[in-house]
């Protein structure tokens, strides 16, 4: 009789571990998926920047320093490995782009260029999408981290080495995300 009870407890425990294991796999996969969403948008931004620089060069060639800054920030962002590196590089890139658009304010011909306007619109949209993807990623990471830290699921997390993931933090926070790079004309 006692043997049966012990067996029962072991079976229930094993089922619980399996359920928890699967849950962690699901959470981890979701976070990775969400990260690839961010990656897609980041790549789109990297692709748009060379076009932008070419267009700006045609009108404001002697803004070398600003242009170089953007190019440098882009290269750095593309080489980022960890989430924290990505976040830092993206903040730099956003800042560099902001000053580029600020500089372009003093070139009326540039501001009238349809190509430039189109690129600016695309970049603004991409930045919005990065923010959206970032929030989805952070939501998923939060779920994973809570599960990995709270008792008793943290025991299973430790056994199977399910690691906590880093949040993707951008400097300006939620409020800036609502009104991204507002370049007024």
């Amino acid at each position: 009789m006692i043997g049966l009870i012990i067996l029962g407890i072991i079976v229930v425990f094993a089922l619980w571990v399996i359920a928890m294991y699967n849950r962690f796999v699901r959470l981890r996969t979701r976070s990775e998926e969400a990260w690839s969403d961010i990656d897609v948008q980041l790549k789109r931004r990297y692709d748009l920047i060379p076009n932008l620089i070419e267009t700006v060069k045609g009108y404001a060639a002697h803004e070398q320093q600003t242009l170089a800054q953007v190019t440098e920030a882009r290269t750095k962002a593309m080489g980022a490995q960890t989430v924290a590196e990505h976040a830092e590089a993206e903040n730099m890139l956003t800042g560099a782009l902001k000053s580029l658009f600020a500089v372009s304010e003093s070139y009326p011909d540039l501001k009238a260029n349809t190509n430039f306007l189109e690129l600016q619109r695309e970049l603004t949209d991409t930045e919005n999408k990065i923010q959206a993807a970032r929030r989805f990623y952070n939501t998923n990471v939060r779920d994973l981290n809570i599960a990995a830290e709270t008792f008793p699921s943290n025991i299973v997390a430790r056994w199977f080495k399910f690691m906590k993931k880093e949040f993707f933090e951008l400097a300006e926070g939620e409020q800036a995300a609502r009104e991204p790079v507002a370049v007024t004309f």
């Binding site: 969400a34 969403d37 619109r121 949209d125 919005n128 999408k129 923010q131 959206a132 993807a133 929030r135 989805f136 939501t139 998923n140 779920d143 809570i146 939620e174 609502r178």
Partner: protein, 304 residues
């Protein structure tokens, strides 16, 4: 996380309710068919009833979104034609982790919006041109987030299926009423007419409370409040939706193609606010199930 658990149980509840609704409808049509065939003593009516109810159920699952869109006269919007709206919905879909829904626009001065479709892969969100004119960006974002919340919470299938089923039931009762009204003058076939009248009366008596129950199933107040809350979590800015709801409720314009079958889909009552209108017809009273806007706004602002 009690919030998440709540949402998941809500989702499976919706799927169960859709099944219940469809089987109820099936049984109802069968019962009518059985009754009619027994009364007229002709079993072919029963076969027709079975056929009709099967077709209706299939149609309401596969084509109800298209039926709803054509009922409301919605036109597809693309990234080129409605850049702001399209990208706004796109961004919210990314935040919610939902596939991009199709975006539709309805030519109508009354500000309103709804979501439809059988699942999140085949979802549609529609906005009236009046809404796009009246609201600013954050308010529009709030409304779009509310509609995406309906998609994410799987409210749309149930609500859309209700459109077709309720639409059919109202059509049927309408038809029967008309038959009994026009048949009254025919003296030679008095017996026949009386019989039809009796059937009509029986069916109507059966249908009215049922329709009301169906509508309550579909538009529980909980559902709207939950979508408001989920939407606010998406934008992280409840004030946007709150002020949008206020603006929408202040507009007294009635939608051009307001329809009892589709009314519950919309974010606010397409028949407009009923302030100072002395005559509210019986049918509308049944369908009057939108939670009061003031309560929703208060809940969003946390002042309730």
């Amino acid at each position: 996380m009690p919030m998440a658990a709540n949402l998941y149980t809500h989702q499976s509840g919706n799927v169960a309710k859709t099944w219940l609704l469809m089987s109820l409808f099936f049984v109802l049509i069968m019962a009518i068919g059985l009754f009619a065939s027994w009364y007229v003593n002709d079993s072919s009516i029963l076969y027709i009833a079975v056929f009709v109810s099967i077709i209706m159920n299939i149609a309401s699952y596969w084509w109800s979104d298209k039926i709803v869109l054509s009922l409301t006269g919605a036109k597809p919007a693309s990234k080129e034609t409605h850049y702001e709206l399209y990208t706004l919905v796109e961004n919210l879909a990314i935040t919610a982790g939902l596939p991009m829904p199709k975006v539709y626009v309805i030519e109508d001065a009354a500000p309103n919006a709804f979501a439809t479709g059988r699942n999140k892969e085949h979802a549609v969100v529609a906005f009236t041109t009046g809404l796009l004119c009246t609201l600013n960006r954050t308010e529009l974002e709030g409304v779009a987030a509310h509609e995406l919340a309906h998609i994410g919470n799987r409210d749309i299938l149930l609500q859309t299926v209700v459109v077709v089923l309720v639409g059919f039931v109202t059509l049927l009762s309408d038809m029967l009423l008309r038959i009994s009204a026009t048949g009254g003058g025919d003296r030679d076939r008095g017996n026949q007419v009386q019989l039809i009248l009796m059937i009509a009366g029986f069916i109507l008596a059966l249908l009215a409370p049922l329709v009301a129950t169906l509508m309550q199933l579909a538009i529980s107040r909980k559902r709207e409040f939950l979508a408001d809350a989920t939407g606010a979590m998406l934008t992280r800015y409840p004030e946007g939706l709150a002020s949008a709801l206020e603006k929408i409720s202040q507009s007294s314009v009635q939608m051009k193609r307001a329809n009892h079958a589709t009314a519950h889909l919309f974010i606010s009552d397409p028949f407009g606010e009923k302030k100072g209108r002395e005559r509210i017809n019986f049918l509308h009273k049944i369908f009057l199930t939108h939670p009061p806007v003031q309560e929703r706004v208060a809940a969003l602002r946390g002042t309730r």
